[in-house]
Subunit: 187 residues, 2 copies
């Protein structure tokens, strides 16, 4: 028997998640959706502001309507989560500008995607959409800004792990431009 090291399943799931854009017609049951949302809100949140909000869309009619304004949503998924930034909970008081809370919405979406992947589901974060149209369709208040659309479903095709630049290109040791120490030392 192979020794099971702690966290092995988690590390595998973190590294094997891939983009899923085509979904089977099957519904996603509410237990799965609930687990994904629980994972999403467990993400880190700057100053505990929890400056996020999620709209879960299951109605095919409404999903098709949203899709008309979101070229990044290629096929109709059984579920579409609209991840929003709640500016009334921003850390800085800048209108429309950069805020740390935005990063936390990104982290929450990553948790959503990882929970989905762990459950055998697949999804894909989509940033190309017409925000004003979406806000109108979803009746979002002015302080709530749609940030990412996340279509979900049971994958039709095998999930491919992401291909990335070599780690030595993106990881620096002690300061910029030095070799990737970790990789060297691990061998």
């Amino acid at each position: 028997l192979e020794a099971v090291s702690p966290g092995r399943e988690v590390l595998e799931v973190l590294c094997s998640r891939g983009v899923v854009r085509r979904y089977a017609a099957e519904k996603v049951d509410e237990t799965c959706i609930g687990r994904m949302l629980d994972a999403a809100v467990a993400a880190p949140t700057a100053a505990n502001k929890q400056a996020w909000a999620f709209v879960v869309v299951r109605s095919e009619r409404r999903i098709r309507l949203l899709q008309a304004f979101a070229p990044g949503v290629l096929t109709v998924p059984p579920v579409l989560v609209v991840a929003c930034f709640d500016r009334s909970r921003a850390i800085r008081n800048t209108e429309g500008g950069w805020d740390e809370g935005l990063l936390c919405v990104g982290m929450a979406v990553e948790n959503l995607l990882l929970a989905a992947h762990a459950l055998g589901l697949g999804g894909c974060p989509v940033g190309s959409f017409r925000g004003q149209a979406l806000s109108r369709i979803l009746a979002l208040p002015e302080h709530v800004e749609p940030l990412l659309l996340v279509p979900f479903g049971w994958p039709v095709d095998p999930v491919k792990s992401p291909v990335r630049r070599s780690r030595s290109e993106v990881v620096h040791d002690e300061s910029w431009g030095t070799a990737d120490g970790a990789r060297e030392r691990v061998g």
Copy 2:
């Protein structure tokens, strides 16, 4: 024997990660650091730009130097990862402004934190620091912007799962203001 449902360990790790700000003096071995970085770069990345860069700082002298400009880093960790946004790989061509690639750096940091938690390590994303001072200390080129500091180490105290607003406050069904369907239907 309890039935093991797929992904259970992953869902537990996603929901039990908490902020760790005090670290034991023990070093973090390079295998762990390597696994964490592998997980980080497996995060989603808009348009496959991989607009991220990481500086891994292990030298105590340098960590103390960085800490002097980062009030959010409360104690000296054995490792500090500086997660940066590489503007030369931004999707939009806006100087200093908002870019989808920023969200991907957030997602990569969440993967880093989750991998750490899975390995028994703990960390905490820190956004309050003086970016210019950090850039000088780390010799970052102009297009590379430090976004989050992530100190890591072996936790001294038990890790507390995050406490969050009730899901019905942040999750909406079909459109804004409606009840949280998933929770209702699961019961």
